[in-house]
């Protein structure tokens, strides 16, 4: 018997389910929880439950929200004629942080990946297409720079273009603050491929 308490064992198992947490870290986290006051632990447990009870998906953009439609979709200052398509709610947070984008979002819920059983039906593709009315002037495709993101971009481009709006994709290239000299060849060659006139 490795652990003398079944409760501790169970908690370690739960932590070990989290992404990026190995067994050793799970054990450390569990022992940390054990040392905390009962109030602290109750607050943490409640926060976990709240996430599931209060948060739902916006029925327009499929981002996470507590009110439907979400604050972005119902925001009076947002430009309704531009939609930025992303894979996950995380990506909305990332783009919002820049403060540069004032349009709307659409969260697909992932990217096409047959190996993971994810086809167009598993993503919010139909919901995206139904949002593209005459008022939408531009759709920005902001997928992750990997094989699956690329296929999703190609797939959506073909579907959206006939509906009228301009379809653009975010540039892939050199990170800001990155030294050209140290950029790997693949990044650099793609940045050159996607170069723009000045």
């Amino acid at each position: 018997m490795l652990y003398t308490s079944e409760a501790l064992h169970q908690l370690i198992e739960e932590f070990a389910q989290l992404p990026g947490i190995g067994r050793k870290t799970a054990q450390r986290l569990a022992l940390f929880v054990l040392k905390q006051s009962k109030d602290d632990v109750a607050r943490m447990a409640q926060a976990l439950v709240n996430v599931k009870e209060r948060i739902r998906y916006c029925s327009t953009c499929w981002n996470i929200t507590e009110v439907d439609p979400c604050a972005i979709c119902s925001g009076p200052k947002r430009e309704k004629k531009v939609i930025c398509v992303v894979e996950e709610p995380n990506d909305v947070i990332a783009v919002e942080k820049t403060g540069e984008f004032r349009g709307l979002y659409h969260v697909l819920g992932g990217s096409l990946s047959p190996l993971d059983g994810i086809g167009p039906e598993e993503l919010k593709v139909r919901e995206l297409l139904s949002r593209i009315t005459q008022d939408v002037e531009e759709v920005i495709l902001a997928m992750n720079p990997n094989v699956e993101g690329e296929a999703t971009t190609l797939y959506l481009t073909r579907l959206i273009k006939p509906l009228g709006p301009r379809v653009t994709r975010i540039a892939r290239g050199i990170p800001v603050g990155g030294d050209l000299e140290f950029a790997d060849e693949a990044t650099l060659s793609r940045a050159i491929e996607g170069r723009i006139a000045v």
Partner: protein, 378 residues
Amino acid sequence: MNLASVRVRNFRNHRDSVVEFGSGINFLIGGNGQGKTSILEAISYFGLTKSFFSASDLTTLRKGAGEFEIEGDLLTGSGTREHILIRFDREAGEKKIGVNRSLLERQNHLIGRFPVVVLSPESGRITAGAPAERRKFLDMVLAQRSRSYLEDLLEYRRVLRQRNRLLLEGKGGRGGVSTETLRPWSESLTRTGARIIDRRRQFVTEFLPAFVRVHGGIAQDHEEVTMEYRTTPTLPDEPGTQALTEMLSMALARTEREERRRGATLVGPHRDDLLLSINGMNAQDHASQGQHKTMILAMKIAEFEYLAGALDEVPVLLLDDLFSELDEARSDRIIRLVSTLGQSVITATTDPFFNGEGVQGDPPRTIIVEDGTCRIRE
């Protein structure tokens, strides 16, 4: 590049061995199973991040050990010292690679930095084996030559797996996926595939003259060798990737029905071949054993020249068990040739024959490998 020393811990049958190399030829002499090939394997990690011999790190871990370490001190062409440490942890199931005491975030970035050329008994499959062996040869050379080739290759493999998965859904007349669903994967496949084919055909153009020349220098009889890159259906005449992309997408469109029936992608660089011929005949089927050996040696030396010319670093040449069946005259000739190429590490069960006067560069060093230990023979 010059390998000054290697230290291996818990690697195959080595508990903790240190080998200091000379800058010319280094012989590792020992009986079978004593651990001489393991030293070559360890060096190949510096070039390829893995063993040339087996794909899995677990198989190179010494029995009963929890982790292995390979440590190297190298002198680069520009005169700087570099330190590499590769550590595999059995429990974590992963490998970490550090260069000059900082961890590499992407292990692929080691490839091409400390190039190696390996000639082992398995290399014989390149001329005698299936097309996959020749594609592997092309990929190993080109991945060391260019990181963007390696990135393309990894990307292509991923796209291929995704696309094959889709095709499998319709195998044997079951429903199958729509053309719209398949199309983005076909587009990715042709674009990345065209870049890979273009690099490979450029390589063959550059490589062929060196191969023919080196082969002419070591072949006993007058024999003519050629090589040609073969793809389906045929390579377009125009250079560049544009025409290749079009060729691939047309070929894909033509085979789509058959692909759906068989549940696999049937055209692309993963199906190509490097056609080798000797005196006008297909080498795979018609070359004698001796002809195969000469061809493979010539290919490896030409590979060495190609990488040495294309990279900032001269590769280290790793020759495994090359001399077991050679007569004295041939052994002498090869050692003289190898001595002109810089640093090499050569395994043999007994001292190979050579005439010391013909050897260039630093005098050869002999290291005795016995039961997982190494010592320099004075």
